[in-house]
């Protein structure tokens, strides 16, 4: 039904340029795994390495334990959904869906029946004989999914398939994709630069930057325990303070900044005495009239207040001109501070973490 995908020390060079750098990860059978990263970080390249359109410069790609190097895409148990879908415009919907079966020599009646069945699976009824050009964006999306499912792939590869859709449809299709994955049990490898999408849909997420896999973990791990500064700032919002780690005692670091000393947790790969940054989530900070005795505290001046409905974002400015965001839950009795008022931004030591910058090629 589904197979695991194993990338071991996979690198891909284009002439002088290294697009994928020693990526090492095993995607389990039946898992919904997302690669998350900014544009140009090598996500599509990884997908093309798995689907077989190119072979890595170094390292190995295994699917279900079988080494895939040198095996063409048409012989791999994968199906790729392209960033632009790449449906065949000259074939009606049902021929698109059953193209993979046609290739395998299945007779026409069976093909047609299978296409209808898959159209029901993706909840697209009575569209078998339509032309591709008659479909809406979301319907094309479903046809692409059905076409890929028709060949009963062990691994489904999706390259930002929702990026062309509007917000509402995108949210709907997220749930749908997740449901289809659950129903079919196929391993899904999903690519996106939208962190919300990756967190909401995936069993595990791999965060990438400049060809390097920065962290692999469940959405909660990624969000709550980012491995480094890149992950922390790419996934979700963060308030950042620069400074030096002065000393480390029982896992608590004493961190000196131009705004004063903070007590924080210490992330991996940061030694005492080194320059680093601390990261604090807006929802873990609060505004107070006075300093708090047990927490870190920064004097700030209140700037804009953005009321977002279920929560409120308060933007503040510190003495040195750095801006920060404080997020508070909305409740009917909330008292919003006035623009320009002098207050203190406070956060608990366990909610602040010192992190090294992103992993670079020299470190890995």
């Amino acid at each position: 039904m589904s197979e695991a995908v194993e990338l071991s020390k996979v690198s891909m060079d284009f002439a002088q340029f290294r697009a994928v750098n020693k990526v090492d990860v095993t995607i389990k059978a039946g898992e919904f795994f997302s690669f998350l990263g900014p544009s140009g970080c090598g996500k599509t390249t990884i997908l093309r390495l798995i689907s077989g359109f190119m072979d890595p410069t170094e390292g190995a790609v295994k699917i279900g334990g079988v080494d895939m190097i040198g095996i063409r895409p048409n012989a791999r148990p994968t199906a790729l959904i392209f960033q632009n879908l790449a449906l065949f415009p000259l074939m009606p919907v049902w021929e698109n869906i059953s193209f993979g079966l046609e290739v395998r020599g299945v007779d026409k009646a069976t093909r047609r029946a299978k296409a209808e069945e898959l159209l029901n699976l993706v909840e697209l009824y009575d569209s078998a004989d339509k032309k591709i050009s008659q479909l809406s964006g979301g319907q094309k999306q479903r046809v692409a999914i059905a076409r890929a499912l028709a060949v009963e792939p062990k691994v489904m590869l999706l390259d930002e398939p929702l990026s062309a859709l509007d917000l509402k449809l995108r949210q709907h299709m997220r749930a749908e994709l997740r449901a289809i994955q659950k129903r079919t049990g196929v391993t899904f490898i999903y690519i996106t630069h939208d962190q919300g999408e990756a967190l909401a849909m995936s069993d595990r997420v791999g965060v990438m930057s400049q060809g390097i896999l920065q962290q692999v973990g469940t959405p909660m791990e990624i969000y709550n325990n980012p491995a480094n500064g890149f992950v922390a700032s790419f996934v979700g919002e963060n308030n950042i303070f620069e400074g030096t780690v002065k000393s480390v005692k029982a896992g608590v670091a004493s961190f000196a900044t131009a705004l004063g000393n903070f007590e924080t947790r210490l992330g991996k790969g940061v030694a005492a005495g080194s320059k680093a940054k601390i990261y604090v989530r807006p929802e873990h900070t609060a505004l107070q009239k006075t300093t708090a005795p047990k927490a870190n505290s920064v004097p700030v001046e209140v700037g804009d207040v953005a009321f977002e409905g279920n929560f409120v974002n308060i933007f503040v400015r510190d003495r040195l001109g750095g801006t920060h965001m404080i997020q508070a839950q909305n409740d009917p009795n909330i008292a919003l501070p006035a623009n320009g008022s002098k207050m203190h931004m406070v956060f608990a030591p366990e909610h602040a973490v010192v992190l090294a910058a992103a992993a670079t090629s020299s470190q890995s």
Binding site: P73, L80, F82, A86, F88, L90, M91, V151
Partner: protein
Amino acid sequence: MSELYRRYGKLLTLIMILLTAFWLLALVIIPNIVLFEFSFESYLPVDQLGGPLDVYSLKNYETFIYSPIHIRIFFQTIIYSSLVTLLCLCMSYPVAFYLAKVIRIENAPTIFLLLLIPLWVSEILRSFAWFIILSFQGPLNALLLGIGIIGKPIRWISGFNGVIIGLIYSYILFMLFPVYNAISSLDSNQIEASEDLGAPLWRTHWRVVIPHAKPGIASGCVMVFMLCAGSVIVPSTLAAPNSRWFTEIIQQWMFEGLDWNVGSAYAFLLLVLCILFVSIVMRVLNVRLVDIAK
């Protein structure tokens, strides 16, 4: 039209339209109408012009129907033109695909330039060049003998061989360019999607690339076929004694027989029958005229 108006103003637009109309009328339509009228008149001595024998008739066309040799030559022309068209297609398609989808886009202009240079040489010179290359004592035989592929020289220009080679060489680019254009407008992801779904190379071409390129293939075929059937220089240069082309018959009537009337009739027959043939083939292959016009 209104676009032209806006851009160049009234006077210039008018001049352009008049010039185009003049070009069409004076150089295309009127000569054809004159020839068309010619084809229904009889070839008469000057003193009988306007006399009782100077009436319109289908006599000139009957000449064709009652000459089995001419009919045979006509069918030969059609058959060998079709063959040349097919060979041009078979040779152009892989090259067009290679140029459109395989090589890096930066290298394409250089290759196109190399392909175009021979086209700058006049057709007569190119035909003669092939006549020399293919002649019994010519360089091709010398080369093949030299490297020992053949034991004794081959008579290349026999039957329709020479004509076929010459026509392919002259007109293959008229196939290559439309096919190239059509293929390069295909989204490469579709080729990859087909392969990803398990299709071997031939099926990807059969189901994805060729259907997409069909309009280009059709216009290339129509162009090459019509050029071949109407070609004069290549057949007269490279033909063997027994291989004659229909255009040569027309030429004979007009310039040797000085009978422009039968010549015109033959010319129109060639045109009409070729159009008929092309339409039938297009109907059979389910290609529409609008596809070609694109």
